[in-house]
């Protein structure tokens, strides 16, 4: 019984991590049809922002939940104005340019922070559950993932900003005819996506040893989760994170983490082959 509960938490945690790391990418892809391949580096940047500000004396929760998103959002604004906005509507070119950005950021960060691994301790202690030890921070990550999904859903569905963003996604010309500048909508959406990436990077920072190349660990999983999810931002990301998280974590528990990751990737290929427009291209059509 205890073991079942522990396994359930582990699986929820795997799903939560996927939701967390892909939320920012899902917003940018779902709303703007832009794939930000530098997403992994955005997460890493958020992680560095959290760690650096914490080491400078800021409260750990403040640095994770506030400093990291703000730093990455500011960086996102720069990137959108300098690179992305010249390439709207050219999916492959944005992918290539952001891949370049990813490499440049990786190189830049290793020049600034050095090729070493840094980290901070998790702020929440573990606790015993029956005969097993559970990590309290994992529960925090699960809670954060829930909060982000619910928050995103509410913003997109029930606020004016969300309405405009969805409108711009469906029909750019109509939106601009109504007096909303698409360029500004895109800027805000991209910044929001970057802020989410920063937040995720901050929350993940205590869990991983951070080095300039750690973005590569995130990007593939985030990318696959978003593409397999399809066009709907929240439901798509949740559905595919659910499938991938459960499968990879179950396989991991049965064998090794490496095999678990390979299982995730194999399932991704099969899923995309069967549902080429993603899960929400076939089911829950038109959802948020």
């Amino acid at each position: 019984m205890d073991y079942a509960a522990v396994v359930a938490v582990e699986i929820c945690y795997a799903v939560a991590v996927l939701v967390l790391i892909s939320a920012g990418l899902a917003v940018i892809f779902g709303m703007m049809r832009v794939i930000n391949l530098a997403h992994g580096e955005f997460l890493t940047l958020g992680g560095y922002a959290a760690i650096m500000s914490h080491q400078a004396g800021v409260n750990i929760y403040l640095s994770m939940l506030l400093v990291a998103p703000i730093v990455v959002a500011i960086f996102g604004i720069l990137v959108e104005r300098l690179i992305i906005r010249w390439l709207y509507g050219r999916l492959i070119n944005t992918m290539l340019a952001t891949w370049g950005l990813s490499l440049a950021m990786m190189g830049g960060m290793s020049m600034i922070f050095g090729n070493t691994t840094t980290g901070i301790a998790t702020p929440i202690a573990g606790f015993a559950y029956g005969r097993y030890q559970l990590s309290g921070y994992n529960l925090f990550v699960i809670a954060m993932a829930c909060a982000i999904s619910i928050g995103l859903y509410l913003v997109l569905k029930f606020t004016r900003a969300g309405l405009i963003a969805r409108g711009a996604m469906q029909n750019t010309e109509m939106t601009s005819a109504f007096g909303y500048s698409p360029s500004r909508v895109y800027l805000v959406t991209f910044t929001a996506g970057a802020a989410l990436a920063g937040l995720a990077g901050g929350v993940m920072a205590p869990l991983v040893g951070l080095n300039p190349a750690s973005g590569a660990n995130y990007i593939a999983k985030a990318f696959i989760t978003v593409i397999a999810g399809g066009a709907s931002v929240v439901s798509g990301a949740l559905a595919s994170a659910g499938i991938f998280g459960v499968i990879s974590q179950s396989v991991t528990l049965l064998s090794t983490p490496a095999v678990g990751e390979i299982a995730l990737l194999v399932v991704a290929i099969i899923l995309l082959r069967l549902l080429p427009t993603g899960i929400t291209g076939k089911f829950f059509k038109g959802g948020v």
Binding site: A220, L265, L272
Partner: protein
């Protein structure tokens, strides 16, 4: 007609083959040639068949690993040489058939090919230990496979090819593959591929099976990438999982886009120039290598979306007065067609 087109390539190729070793050491040149071959493989499937494969490194790595594993098991180098081409080509044919018959395209294709590369990378990285053996060859996990038999002269199996000999061999193969691809693009098969790239639906309505065509082109590209991998394995004398890495895949795409997708010469030039830049950058420690590559890719996408080589050709044509104006793509095309010398958008 074809002979007249190919003769200059052969002559220029031969001249370069003898001039280059005087300017650079043949050790660097050999690896640049392998890179150029790899770039050529992606340049063919992306630039002419319109298949953007984010995982060309997978076939490169597969070629290298197939060669190493076969060479250890057989103890002779020439069988493995062909195996290194065949294994990636067959793998790509099977994998490509699954994808193209499922009508995956652009982003989804890019994701799936990227994922495939990641799977191979993860698998090879975690394949340390006795359990992972193919015949006598241990996969060796992160450390890769060292110490396999390298290529010997075809007529003398005691004389290994290394340094200059290996460069001449690699460069000769590069010229050969280039010429074969050019001939192929002149034949109906190549023409249909380009037509398919321009308008898939139209090609299909004319009765061509684009799924089959794409699969064949994909498999050809993989075979060439495998050959590049084999050359690389012979140069490095070790194969490691880094061959499958994301960074390697990114680099191939950068070579092609900087050199010029849609041409065969562009990717070769891109690979040679950027590969050499990387060597030079590797000798200093002030600026990070990856940073420079990334910035080059961003600038190339933003400023030179057609690549160096096509831009140079356009400039040259404009300077020599072949064209009424450097701008106006449409006018240029009609002009060329009138002269009866239309090469498509560039079979250079």
């Amino acid at each position: 007609m074809i002979a007249r087109e190919i003769l200059p390539s052969i002559i220029i190729g031969l001249i370069l083959m003898f001039i280059l070793p005087m300017m650079l050491d043949s050790y660097t040149l050999t690896v640049l040639t392998a890179y150029a071959m790899l770039a050529l493989s992606l340049g063919f499937i992306w630039g002419f068949a319109g298949i953007l494969c984010f995982g060309q490194a997978a076939f490169f790595g597969l070629g290298a690993y197939s060669y190493a594993i076969a060479a250890i098991n057989f103890g002779t180098p020439w069988g493995p040489f062909f195996i290194a081409i065949l294994v990636p080509a067959l793998f790509a044919a099977a994998f490509g058939a699954v994808l193209f018959y499922g009508r995956l395209s652009d982003v989804y294709l890019a994701v799936v090919t990227l994922v495939m590369t990641l799977i191979l990378f993860k698998f090879m990285n975690s394949s340390a230990g006795e359990a992972y053996k193919i015949g006598n060859a241990r996969l060796g996990g992160y450390n890769g496979i060292p110490g396999f038999e390298t290529l010997t002269l075809p007529w003398d199996s005691t004389e290994y090819m290394y340094d200059e000999t290996l460069f001449y061999f690699a460069f000769g193969l590069l010229v050969l593959v280039y010429i074969l691809l050019r001939v192929c693009l002149r034949r109906p098969f190549g023409r249909i591929l380009v037509g398919m790239r321009e308008n898939e639906q139209r090609a299909e309505l004319m009765g061509y099976d684009i799924r089959l065509l794409k699969t064949i082109a994909f498999s050809m590209g993989a075979g060439i990438a495998g050959l590049a991998g084999c050359l690389f394995a012979n140069w490095a004398e070790i194969v490691t999982p880094a061959l499958f890495s994301l960074g390697q895949s990114a680099e191939i795409i950068i070579w092609v886009i900087v050199g010029g997708a849609g041409t065969l010469m562009g990717p070769i030039i891109g690979a040679a120039v950027l590969g050499f830049t990387k060597f030079l950058l590797g000798q200093q420690s002030m600026i990070d290598n990856t940073l420079v590559l990334g910035v080059i890719l961003i600038l190339a996408v933003l400023l030179l979306p057609r690549g160096i080589f096509p831009s140079l050709v356009q400039l040259w044509n404009w300077l020599t007065g072949k064209l009424p104006s450097a701008s106006g793509d449409r006018r240029r095309r009609t002009n060329k067609r009138r002269n009866g010398s239309d090469n498509g958008s560039g079979n250079a």
